[in-house]
Symmetry: C2
DNA sequence: CTCTAATTTCAGTCTAGACAGAAAAGACTG
DNA sequence: CAGTCTTTTCTGTCTAGACTGAAATTAGAG
């Protein structure tokens, strides 16, 4: 870690902490930060040395990041080791993260809500109030995911245009005032 | 827990697991789920009994949920105990959650990024590539937060309208096709 | 002001999950 | 196919932070 530029150290540490706040293992987040800042692909043993954690631990973290789809293996001529590089396009990266979290967490939640609401018809399974509350929650998740799905289809350039329009967009569409 | 409707049990357990995936203490999430489904305000000792955890633990969880601003104390005549109820409007609830997470996690990250970029001008603090990467990341967070800020100002009705417009909205605005 | 109920704090315990290191498996080389 | 390098898997250890129960504090009632 000490041989990294100061700014890189600072960012990697912060990114690790952020990870833990969002349910991502600290080491996984740190590995991601390191690769994100790295111009050249990095082999696992170097990552281990830089971050000061066991090689085996890095192996697991890399696997996890590959499952997310935000890093990939590349090969360097004259070196047998796998090298890893992060996706460089930040917007694309967060699109992938959002999509994965939707798949892993939101969709299962929607399924549970659907099951609950279905079962809540049966006698003794739930009272009317519970049923209504769950219905509201499901509506929220449905609206949110379908809105996100629309947004996800846009290319980055369109998302940027949209963001730049900001307030004006809402007025043009007549959803405001 | 056993005396709750089956559907409520199922939801509370799932919500607890979801919490852990998003960096929220399981018990905190369970308490929230319980209150969310509860028609009447519930006193702390009953929550402890229902969820089967220590009273003191519930005290901490309730404090946390109050800090988030998604539950509040109410008093019931003829009972000295504090009773707690969840916000019932789901959209309002997630608006608060999003705002808090922005304040607690996104804004500190933006500050770190700003610091890093500023420092990266200094000699030996960072190479050009690192600086560029951090700049891209900061741009992303800036665009995302400012877009969210706009959205947050809209009343729920307008957000629903917007979501319903869906694809059409993008075409109307000329950001698509 | 005293007594009791309710809540919070605190110090210690417990445990899920992070981590290390060894061993196994896999892959390339000559 | 033996030898070496690399990666993965596995088992046991360690620790942050979740949790408990007791003690301290606070709030109301008479």
């Amino acid at each position: 870690m000490k041989d990294l530029p100061l700014v890189a150290q600072k960012f990697i540490l912060h990114w690790g902490e952020m990870g833990t706040r969002w349910g991502i293992n600290r080491t996984v987040a740190q590995v991601h930060a390191l690769l994100f800042l790295s111009e050249k692909p990095v082999p696992a043993d170097e990552i281990a040395k830089i971050l000061g954690v066991a090689r085996s631990n890095i192996s697991t973290s890399l696997r996890e990041l590959q499952n997310w789809g935000i890093i990939r293996v590349v090969h360097v001529i004259g070196d047998r080791r796998d090298h890893f590089e992060s996706l460089h396009d930040v917007f694309a990266m967060f699109r992938i993260i959002a999509r994965e979290r939707k798949k892993r967490e939101i969709e299962p939640t929607l399924r549970v809500l659907r099951d609950c609401i279905e079962e809540s018809g049966k006698p003794r399974a739930a009272d009317a109030y519970t049923r209504e509350r769950l219905g509201d929650l499901m509506t929220f998740f449905e609206v949110a995911t379908s809105a996100y799905d629309q947004l996800e289809k846009l290319p980055t350039s369109a998302v940027l245009k949209l963001a730049k329009l900001g307030d004006k967009a809402f007025k043009l569409l007549g959803v405001k005032q």
